[in-house]
Each structure stands twice: as C-alpha cells, then as structure tokens.
Amino acid sequence: MTIVVALWGVAALLGIAVLGIPAQRIAAGSRLIYLGCLLACLTILVAACGSLLTVGSAAESLTLPIGLPWIGAHFSIDALSAFFLCVINLGGAAASLYALGYGEHEEIPGRVLPFYPAFLAGMSAAILAADAFSFLFAWEFMSLSSWALVMVYHQDADNRRAGYIYIVMASFGTLALLLAFGLLAGPTGSYAFAEMRDAQEAVWLPGLVLGLALLGAGSKAGLVPLHVWLPLAHPAAPSHVSALMSGVMTKVAVYGFIRIVFDLLGAPVWWWGSVVLVLGSATAVLGVLYAVLQRDLKRLLAYSTVENVGIIFIGLGLALAFKANGMASAAALAFTAALFHVLNHSFFKSLLFFGAGAVLTSTGVRDIEKLGGLIHRMPWTAFVFLGGCVAISALPPLNGFASEWLIFQAVLLSPELAQWGLKLLVPAVGAMMALGAALSAACLVRAYGITFLGRPRSPAAANAHETDRFSLAAMSALLVLCFLAGVLPGFVIDAIAPVAKALVGQRMPVQASIPWLSIVPVAESRSSYNGLLVFIFIASSAMLAAEVIHRFASRAVRRAPAWDCGYPDPSTATQYTADSFAQPLRRVFGEVVFLSRERVEIPPPGDTRPARLTVQLRDLVWDVIYAPVGGWVSYASEQLNYLQFLTIRQYLSLVFAALVALLLVVAIWT
C-alpha cells in the first residue's frame, strides 16, 4: 500500500515536470508547479512516515513491467528506505514551500521549472529502487536533472566550469557504482537486491565493492578527496536547488553507501571500519577548514556540508567497526547517531541555504565582504538564520548537539574493540571530530557576524529588504523541527530504531519510557542527556535574570555613537572583514593544510602607491590529484588525436589489420 502511494507520488512529480515546460507562459505558473511538488512530496512523506512508525511493518515490494524486459523494475520499501524517503521528502517539501516565494524572482523560469520536479522524482525513485538497474537509472536521472539546474545561469563562465566538473565527477561516480553492482551481481547477472543479499561472494570481492562504493557514493556525498565538485556546483544553482543538493542529494548518496555496505555485502571485516573512519575524519576537518576561508556565503555552506558528511561517515565507520567485532549494541548506537545526523543536517543545512538565498535576492550579493548590518534590515531572516547557525554548531539545546553527543558516546564505547589499528585510530578520530565541531562554530560565527551584524559594507547591504512570507514560513518550519529534534531526541531515536535493528542486528534501548524524556545510549548509570531539561533551565535562568535585573536595576537606556575605546570611525571599512576574522585560524591551521603564505609589499617612503598584502593558498587536493590526472588525460587525448587525420589508405589498413588479428585469434584459440 505504502509503496503504491510512493510510486504514484514519483509519477506525479514526473508529470509535473512535463507540465513545467509550458508552465512558464502562465503568470502563476511557477507557483502552481511548486505547489504541486509540495503536495506530492508531502504525500510521499506521510506514506513513508506511516511505514516507518508502524510497529512490525514488513518490507513491501513491487515489480513493474517497465525498464529492461528480462529484469523489470523492482521497487521496495523497508525501514532504511522509509527513513530516507522521510528525510528526502521533508527536504523537498520545505524547498518547494520556499520556492513558492523564491521562484518569483527567477528570471528564466523555463530553465528551472521542468527540471526541479524531475530532480525530486529521481531522488525518491533512487530510494525506492530494489534492483541495480532501476537504482542506477534513477541515480543518473537525479544527476542529470541537477546538472541542468546547475547550468541555469550558464552565461557565467564560473557556472559553466562548475557544471562541467560536476558532470565529469557524477559520471565517474556512476561508473564506480556500476562496477560495484556488477561485481555484486556476479556471473549469474542477478541484479535484484534481494538476490544480491543472499549471494555467496568470493573472499576478495567485498573489499573491492567497498572501495567502489566509497568512490561512487562517496563522491556524490562529498568525501575528501572526491569533494571538489560540491563547492563549485552547489552555489551555482538557484538557492532552493542548492538546499536540495546539499541537504538532500548528499543523503541519497549516504543511502546508497549504507545499502551497499551494510545491507548487500553481508558481514563486515574490521578494516572496512578503519578506512571509512579515516576518510570521514579527514573530510570533517578539511571541509570546515576550507569553509573558514571562504568569502562566498553559499560556497561556505557547501564546504560545511562536506564537514557534516564527514561526521556522518565517522558514525558509519564506527558502526562498521563495532559490527565487525560483534558488539551489536554499540553498533546500534553509532548507526543511530549517524542517521540522526543525516536527519539533522538536512534540516539545518536547508535552513541555512534558504537564508543565503533570501540574502541573495534581497541584496543581489553573495560575497559576505560586501554585506553587514542585515539584522536591522531583515530581522526575521536574521533570527531564523541565527537558529540555523546555533543548530549546525552543535550547541545545546538544538538538534546538532544531540547527534554529536551520541557519536561521542559511541567513541567512548570503543576501547572494547580488539584490533590495534582501531584502538589507535579511534582516539585520533574523536579528537578530529571535536576539532571539526569547534572550527564549525568559528566558521558560523564568522559567517553570521560579518553578514548580519556590524555595519553595512556596501549600498546593496544598506538597502536590503525582508524576504517574502513563503520563504520565512519554510525557514521557520525547519527551525521548529530543529528545536523539536533537539529537545525531544528520544522520539527520533525510537523512529530510527527499526532501521538499526534491520541493518546491525540490534536497536538502541527504548527511549520513550525513560523518565523526564532523557536519552540513554547504553545504561542510565552510564550517561544520559536531557535536551528538554537543558532548554527549560536556560530559558528559566534567562528569564529569572532578566526579571530580577529589571526589578532592581535602572531601566534607563541612552543611544549614543559606538564607544570603540574613544576612537570611533564612521567609515564602515574599519570594522573587521571576513578575511581579518579568519586570519588567526589561517595562521594556525592554514600553514600546514593550505601551505598559506603571506607577503607584504610596502613601497618606499614618498611613493604614493598603496601597500599590498598578498595571501597565497594552495588547494593541495586539486594540485596533487586532479591537476595531474587532468594533465594526463589531456596528453593522452592529444596523442590519440592523430587518429583523426589519417589518409584513406591508412584507415583501410587499420581495418585490415584488425580483421587479420581477429582471424589469428580464431585460428590459435579454437
């Protein structure tokens, strides 16, 4: 029943996509399209939630006679698919609600309207697919429709380059996944997931499939070193699409990884966990270090996505390590924490991208060095964006802290692991995750402080206006969800429990029955966290303090120019810039990670030229991996280009040589 509803939802989205082509001619066309998407996503969301939350629901499957004739198209919903369908369609619904307001500012709606519903349809279809062919078809459909959305503003050369790199990396990822599924299907060619699950594999096969899954799904999710397309492509698309790509499409990639590694591959080996942990922790730290140095608000948020994907993979790596060692309850904790972070990240990242889109439409500027003081011009946007910043920096009582607390508790269970490699790796991973969390708080303080606080640094910022009510409604809804997930995390953990039970063999203890609505990962005597209590304490202390102060203190307030130690400057250029804020962090971390060098050129006295400060950063991932590979491919294609300019006689001789060679093969080997 659920699966039929979900498939009808996907079909509805595809229908809306087709309707999107003529819709641009009607005045309210874009509003109608986005409204249709909103309704379709909500339908699939309700169906998926129902499937996830009903106790004892079995997996449903369906086979449709479309696609390849001898395979058909298998679709199924089990606990994992239901959870990810909830995540994706919640994000999709929020983006559609946001787009009801944002879409009015679109200059060329015809480039966006057909592809947006197709993108949503592709993502849901990828989750529903239960055989390799449908999965890869939906995956490619999702990639191509999002590529079309990235190329909306193709007049800009940067966007063209972003789209090019995106399509190359997406094709590479699909190729890796194709090989992975091919290896899993084996010589019998059984593409259905159900058959792959039961198949017996050779000893060397699971490791290879893990590597291919990391390449394929990891590149789409944004694991270092395959993340390079993400910060280029996510900002290039319109803001609601950026939110979907960062908050939701990366989760489809995480789903693909979990499906292959946790479900189809069978029992894990301990070193799988260590590979995933190393990649996850490197991604977490590098992502946020890149983010701290960015001037473009959307690119900063895209790098922050990379960091959060790293945290998710740290949780998944811990789950793999625990599962390989037979510690099922610890594996359940780590796995639940990773999925909780998947949900949380889709909430607050979408919220932050919506805010960035609001800033972009209000001011026309994405560079935070030209913004400032927006808290006065756009008060509501500033408030919800602040909520998003608090959530993503993992501060109690919001949801980011709840999932990170659970991952830290999983790290504290790790000394029981038997292998030396894991014993030495997990403390380092814990330290890197803590470092990533602290740096992400610094990054968001910088982003919020420079963009919204202070004084406006350009006329565009000084003349900004508040966004429309649809955008505010979408952002507020996400903030409320962040708050609820933060103060009532027990309910989310209980909702994720069936997924953990299915994939790692055990679930976390039932949280709904714990007094005071705390969450208890292992045992009450060990540790517990109560988000609701923390929130009540903070709120009541703040109100008590405000009340006492206002009763006994002087209420007088006087407005005056800023004190600034007695040297106020009316020019807005003397306040801290984004680069200045990042300078200490660049000095401490950048010299090692980005080989940052500062050079100051001061002209001699009497010369009227300005002094010049040059900061040189190198993206080592690009220089060491991608630039050489690109160079070799160019070189090889240049050498092979000679084949284009041969004479007719040379072409005929090539054909003749090939024919003779094949006849020789037939002669010798039969």
Binding site: P379, W405, G449, R559, P561, Q575
Partner: protein, 317 residues
C-alpha cells in the same frame, strides 16, 4: 517531603555558586595584590562593582541590535546552568543526572558563541579582534576539553559528573592518564577564563584584549550580567577541577545536613586554595604573545589525546 527537600538542596547549590562567584574573584584579586606587595581592593569589592553597574544607565551604540541587548542574559543563563550542574558540596542531587560533562562543555561553547556574536554586533574593530581571537582559542581549547572529558569518562565509566566524583572518591589512585588530564584541564581553564598567560583580565590595551574586547561596548546592567557570567565561569572551572581530581569532602547522595555542611566547608577550602594558586601562577608568569597561545592550547590537546590513547591501549594507565 523527600522530593521537596532534594529540590531545595539543588536550589541551594544553584544560588550558592551565584553568590560565591564574585567572592572568589575578589579573593583572587586580593591575593594577587598581596603577592605584589600592594594592599589590593577589599574582598567584597566585586559585589559593590556589580551593584554600581546595575544602578547605572545603559549607553547603547546607535546600531546595536536586539541580539546585543538580549545576548548578556543568554550568555549568563548558559554559564549559570553549567555552573549549577557541577557538584560543589554534594553528589547525587536532584538534577545531577543531567550534569553530563559533554553537555557542560557544550553549554560553555554556546555562551562563547553568543559572546563572539555580540562582540561583532556594533561593527567596531575591537569587537572583531576579540571575537576572532576568542574563536581561534576556542577551536583548540574545546577539542582539548573534549579529550580530557574522554579520559575522565574512560577512567570512571561515565560522563555524568556525579558518577565520576563518586568513582574518584571510592577508587583514589594515582594514574598517568589522570595526571595528564589534570595538566590539560588546568591549561584549558587558564585559556577559557582569560587569565594570564592567555589574556589579561585587568587590561584594556588592544594588544592583550580578547574577552575585554568583546564586551567593550557594554555598560550598565548588561555589563554587570556579563561580569557575573565571567566570575561564574571561573568558579565553574575551579569547581570542576576540585570535583574530578580532588573529590574529598563531597557528601554522598542522600546524606544529612551534617555531611552537607562538611561538604560545603571542604568546598570553601578548595575554592580558597584554587584562588590562591591561580593568583600565585598569574604573578609568576608573563603573558604569551597571541600566536604562542595556539601552541599552548595545542599542547593541552596533545596531552588529552595522549591520555585517551594510553587508556585505549591499556586500562591500567
């Protein structure tokens, strides 16, 4: 009856930390002055300062926003909740199960987040310098604190402070990892409370300002609230060190008023010793230049990482 009594004791602890915080600050300043052969301000001077500030008119910059006005209360609330959760004279109080070490660290992180934001609100260079330096220190101090929390949690088997204190009280031993964690915690405490050698709490020179730069634009009752929050933070760190590493005197759960009185007495003694040692340390070392502080905090992070690593390798470290 029992519930009301335990709630009352919990409430006493919450207000005890609030009342003792300025006294601790006054004691530290007096001790520092005496060590420098000065008379120093009276012990109760911080209370008088707070009272004076409360009665004054608030001067707000023209472009200060609602965040600037409400920030001090949020910062104070987060710090007070964190300080009230640390066991001072007794363990196992009514809400002690909510006193998770990681949650306390994160609450202090929230206070710092909002402090950095209000520093940037008015749009002056001083606020920016304070905020950026504070976030740079925090990016190393917070992971160091988390690693210290891991070390303590691995030794005691829990991240809940009451359980940790009870464990330390019952199994008093010298352990390498706890020694390393203690050194790391002292380093982090010095950095987080803006004491010498990281920051000078008594100066308004741009070269040495981090915390003072962020609160430069505040006056009147807002400044009073922020000063009280800073004093609470100092009390919190000293209480934390006392509770984890020197837990003798803490009354066990469910004991009578005599045990609580003993606990309170030993707590007062620990605060006096802690304040005196802090004053002694501050007068015997010079302030570091700013880019030496990341190395200082990086050393604390390394010590925490080393302690955790040793505990992962063998439980007897």
């Amino acid at each position: 009856m029992d519930l009301r009594l335990s709630l009352a004791v919990q409430g006493i602890q919450m207000f005890l930390v609030l009342i003792l915080a300025p006294l601790l600050l006054g004691f530290t300043r007096k001790a520092k002055a005496r060590l420098l052969r000065r008379q120093g301000p009276p012990l109760l001077q911080p209370y008088r300062d707070l009272l004076r500030l409360i009665r004054k008119q608030v001067v707000l910059a023209e472009n200060a926003s609602w965040l600037f006005r409400s920030g001090p209360y949020l910062i104070f609330a987060a710090t007070w909740v964190a300080a009230a959760l640390v066991p001072t004279f007794a363990t196992g109080l009514q809400f002690s199960w909510a006193a998770d070490l990681i949650a306390i660290t994160a609450l202090l992180g929230s206070a710092r987040f909002f402090l950095a934001l209000v520093g940037m609100d008015v749009g002056t260079a001083f606020g920016g310098i304070g905020a950026s330096r504070e976030m740079m220190f925090a990016s190393l101090a917070e992971p160091a604190m988390i690693m210290i929390v891991f070390t303590v949690a691995l030794v005691a088997g829990s991240t809940q402070l009451s359980t940790v204190a009870d464990f330390m009280l019952a199994h008093v031993t010298l352990r390498v990892s706890l020694g390393l964690a203690l050194v790391g915690l002292i380093t982090v405490a010095l950095a987080e409370n803006a004491r010498i050698p990281v920051d000078n709490p008594a100066t308004h020179l741009e070269l040495t300002m981090v915390h003072e730069a962020m609160v430069l634009e505040y006056s009147g009752r807002h400044l009073a609230v922020l000063e009280l929050a800073a004093a609470l933070k100092l009390l919190l760190y000293i209480s934390l060190i006392a509770c984890i590493f020197f837990p003798w005197g803490l009354a066990p759960p469910g004991s009578g008023p005599a045990a609580y009185a003993m606990g309170a007495l030993s707590y007062a003694g620990k605060l006096i010793i802690g304040g005196f040692l802090l004053a002694l340390f501050e007068t015997s070392i010079a302030k570091m230049r700013v880019f030496r502080v990341p190395e200082f905090l990086g050393a604390a992070l390394m010590l925490g990482l080393l302690a955790t690593l040793l505990l992962f390798i063998s439980r007897s470290f």
